[in-house]
Amino acid sequence: MEEGMEGLEKEMEALLASQAELVGSLTHDLKGLLSGIDGGIYIAESGFKKEKPERITRGFEMAKRNMARMRIILSSALYYVKDREIDWQPIDLGEMTASVSKVLMPQASHAGVDLLVKSEAGSFEGGELAVHSLLVNLVEYSLDICALDKENQASSVTLSATMRDEHAVFDVLAQGFSIEEETRQLALGDFYAPKGVDRSHLGLFVAHKLAKSHKGTLSITSSPERGTTNFCVRLPKTRPSDMPLRTDSDLETMFGDE
């Protein structure tokens, strides 16, 4: 029993530390985005006052862009802090990829990164909002990292979708960066852990969590030689009948020998 308590204590400590790191990381990111929104409003307003139409457009685009990113970050945070019941419904591959592309095309354009979408016909069962958030996080992360490498003129992100072996398979192929092994492991870990002061990979961590919630998988492969990274999500075509719900039964299993 003592070993079980010790194990639970360590798990709780790790979880609390992870939550604290998350709050710090989120706070930092949100402050930057608020600055972007304030900046957009200032530039648009000054455009009106000084009768400079270019400023009006630039300012509104800046405000919208930062608000969209804030929505993505807050959505990720909400999915991280609370497991949500999946609202299972049919999802069309083409509609889903088109929706994700629509959300992120402004960011891609601003970053100067090509965002391409390829989808085959097909559908599967899943939580529409959860899957949408999952894919948005993967594509947004890829766009962000590609944009950091300004010297790479050929950077692009391709979102593709297909049905294969009774699974919906989404690939996000980023040409323009290779992911570090440490980041890959942190993204696929059990707890969120920011990596120093580098760009938050919360989105990758949440994407992995959302894939798991569907009894699916997220795999990340990267080639430093080619400068590419591929995020591959596989989700069951139909709702798994044996998918466990997160209940107190997890604690019962831990103390089952008492």
Binding site: G24, D29, G32, G39, Y42
Partner: protein, 127 residues
């Protein structure tokens, strides 16, 4: 006519740079910008700005490293620096025993009037 005071803005977020460049230009300052620490240091050596605004969290070279380099360069050590950052407890990352601290600190989201007041406090009311 008194030449405009020159401000160097160093921040890796393009929208923040655009915001500060536009706002400070509207307030009569000559603004130059850098999107990372290395570029900022190079520009500082060439342009010798009257003041630098400096982000902390930047890839490759953090704002703390930039400030340390500025303070240790005889050509640049005199330039006042205002740190503008989203890091809540950034001061614990600095060792004031080694270098002169920044002349101003501001938290993001940016308070433009507060920034203006800090700049005028440092450069003088005529700035």
């Amino acid at each position: 006519m008194t030449p405009s005071k020159k401000i160097l803005v160093i921040d890796d977020q393009p929208d923040v740079v655009d915001y500060l460049e536009t706002f400070l230009s509207d307030e009569g300052f000559a603004v130059i910008t850098a999107e990372n620490g290395s570029q900022g240091l190079s520009l500082a050596r060439v342009e010798t700005p009257d003041l630098i605004t400096l982000d902390i969290t930047m890839p490759e070279m953090s704002g703390i490293e930039v400030l340390t380099t500025l303070r240790r360069d005889p050509q640049l050590a005199h330039i006042p620096v205002i740190i503008i950052t989203g890091v809540a407890d950034f001061r614990r990352h600095m060792d004031y025993r080694e270098i002169r601290p920044a002349e101003g600190f501001m938290q993001k989201p940016i308070d433009p009037e507060g920034l203006l007041n800090s700049i005028r406090r440092i450069l003088g009311p005529a700035a």
